[in-house]
Amino acid sequence: MCTGEQYKMTSVCIYFEVHQPMRLNRFSVFNIGNKNNHHSHYFDKKLNQQIFEKVAKKCYLPTNKLILDLIKKHDGKFKVSYSLTGTFIEYCETYMPELIDSFRELFKTGSVDFIEETYYHSLSSLYDELDEFEDQIKQHNKMIKKIFNYKPRVFRNTEAIYDNRIAKKISDMGYQGIITEGSEKILNWRSPNYLYKPINTDLKVLLRNYNLSDDVGFRFSAKLWPGHPLTADKYATWMSHCEGDLINLFMDYETFGEHHWDDTGIFDFLKHLPGEVFKHKHIDFVTVSEAIKRYNTVGEIDVPWAISWADEDRDVSTWLGNDMQVACFNELKNLGRSIKQNKNKNLLKTWRLLQTSDHLYYCSTKGLNDGDVHAYFSHYDGPYDGFINYMNILQDLKQQIH
């Protein structure tokens, strides 16, 4: 897919996921059902504030500033899209309202787009009924409307989880586009650099070019990788050789300054990227909304089983890969009915904060023996500690409802 001369226009669509979960307090099994418990104490305020402020300083603030400068420098021709989770915005509101202002300023340039997702970055799309999923999307929609007075057209589910059922629901809710992983599982020989249509509904699917995305997201500071050191001109040249309408570069925003620290050169890379890309006359940047407006679908995709952009497996086994995760997922899901009957708004809020997918991610035993990325992102001493703590809290919540 990356060979040959071409004169046709290719667009680069950059999108960042911006998310922070509400991490949990230590909660012992002996604590379950104690009268003095209050569900607001499930969350580790101090740790959460610490991590948020650290990441804000290393990533959010400097990267927002850099992107704003780049947009201005290139007369609005450099474009990016963001997906801001509800929990992330709550962090900003509590600890750093100026961060919201800086996103507003970015949005005002007209070169920044926002993407819809579930407010809680949850796995509600995998529940038997999709009413909770819909509620959480609407809540996110309301939040974006309130802050930016904007209505997103493109949806991206938690960690790009996608299947036919989710596509149908999103299409029914009026969205025009959806984002997922450009996995061979659904493409076979086809290229991710085009828009596709779900087999069962009318919607444009943007597929992540995982090779190019992971070159930055995962491999940028890997010294053993043949592409190291990755420079903006090298990367722009790789993109210029790509065939297709659209190169989708989707990654965590924390790539900049957090996953790869400042001293790896990641900010220099970003700083020079637009300029290097514009040296190739046939490439430009688009937001996700522009991408679906400008390009048409070239084929259909059929995804009966959920895929995602996570881990090597690119499925939902990151969150539901072992018995512990399935047990927590079911426990939480099954609390839904009684929580909603209970009509206690705070309890409902807590239940939803517990749905954030990160809590299940911490219980993953995948690749434990090779000590891979999971450990880096967890504040627990391994998945078993993560499970015990999470399950104890779910048991306590259950008792609080009844």
Binding site: M324, A327, L368, N369, G382, Y384, D385, I388, M391
Partner: protein, 370 residues
């Protein structure tokens, strides 16, 4: 390659991980075409080799039981004499040409040093524990420390059973880090049995192994889950004190003290237990954790134990944090998905901990001394 290895226990006689290690190591070395003569004191149960390259050479009897701690002044003189006597016996019985002399822990170090001087062959010593570990870091005995230090200084290479132990050898004995290699232990897997709600402690009942913390955690678990059953398996100088402690805690009807148990009984109890706890105050490695895990028994170990630095699918606690220990025990008994996942993942990971790997790493160390 021909190795004179000097130990002081070998199955069926076995008091600790050292015997298990020597057994696994010598057999795998023999499989890899290393000729091993294993020198050890004669005991009531004579040890036999089942490999053509491996010979067990028993060199006369000794009164010394290496895990006993000589406390009484009077005994001390006798104890030290017996140690010197054993080492002299070993030195005089080692004949022929060897490429490497390999000793295990303090009891054999004098012999190792003398043999190195006598034959000119390089000396490798494996440190399974130090005096600091065995004393629980409370009142280490200088006589042992001096003996260990001399051996470590004169050795060409030192094998430490963990990075934790390597650190102790550097910090407490002042040894050059470049001389020390870490080789983690291994296990011959044990069969899984029909699981019962048994929470197991298995090991010497000494201050080093932290059995009193196990009983304190047991008290908390029993208050929450009255049907749970606790087993303290093994012997040691703390046994009377522990029985008193169980009575004082009011849990003596829930705790079984087995006393000394046979190898077969050890395997059986590993197999049927639901949780194994190793709350050691100081644990250079902790092979028993691997044994329990291989039998499908989820295991809680001290954070500082050597095994905790290399084995992922186990739970870790501070040995003094009996609240957290009890939290983890109850969780393992209460949440079946946790029990199943950690048990299965643990058995998978155990496959990486083979004596063949230990032998390969040990041969690497030998090669670098020759």
């Amino acid at each position: 390659m021909k190795v004179a290895m000097i130990g002081w226990e070998y199955p069926p006689f076995k008091a600790g991980g050292l015997a298990t290690h020597c057994y696994g190591l010598t057999r795998s070395l023999a499989d890899k075409n290393v000729k091993v003569d294993f020198y050890m004191p004669k005991t009531k149960h004579s040890a036999k080799s089942d490999k053509p390259n491996l010979f067990i050479k028993e060199v006369g009897e000794t009164e010394v039981f290496p895990y006993d701690r000589p406390n009484v002044k009077e005994l001390e003189g006798k104890f030290y004499d017996a140690v010197y006597k054993y080492n002299e016996m070993v030195v005089s019985s080692v004949k022929g040409k060897y490429d490497v002399i390999h000793c295990h822990d303090w009891l054999t170090m004098k012999a190792g040093v003398e043999l190195k001087e006598k034959t000119g062959a390089p000396l490798v010593i494996t440190v399974h524990s130090t005096e600091y570990d065995r004393s629980g870091w409370l009142s280490p005995n200088q006589w042992f420390i001096d003996l260990e230090k001399e051996g470590m200084q004169k050795a060409d290479k030192i094998i430490a059973v963990s990075h934790f132990t390597k650190r102790v050898i550097i910090d407490k004995y002042g040894i050059d880090p470049n001389k020390i290699e870490v080789v983690h232990n291994a296990v011959y897997p044990i069969c899984e049995g029909q699981k019962k709600d048994i929470v197991l402690f298995l090991g010497r009942l000494t201050i080093q192994k932290g059995p009193e913390f196990f009983l304190k955690a047991a008290k908390k678990v029993i208050e929450y889950k009255p049907n749970s059953q606790f087993v303290v398996a093994g012997m040691g100088d703390m046994l009377p004190k522990l029985i008193d402690q169980a009575v004082e805690l009011g849990i003596s009807n829930k705790v079984i003290f087995t006393g000394l148990i046979s190898d077969e009984e050890v395997k059986h109890i590993y197999g049927i237990s639901s949780v194994y706890v190793m709350p050691s105050v100081s644990e250079p490695f902790g092979i028993t954790a691997l044994e329990a895990i291989s039998a499908g028994t989820p295991t809680i170990v001290s954070k500082t134990a050597g095994v905790a630095e290399t084995f992922k699918n186990c739970l870790k606690v501070d040995f003094w944090d009996t609240d957290e220990m009890a939290n983890k025990i109850v969780s393992l008994l209460k949440y079946k998905p946790l029990h199943k996942t950690i048990s299965n993942e643990g058995k998978n990971e155990i496959n990486l901990f083979t004596w063949h790997r230990v032998a390969d790493r040990t041969i690497d160390v030998y090669r670098r001394t020759i």
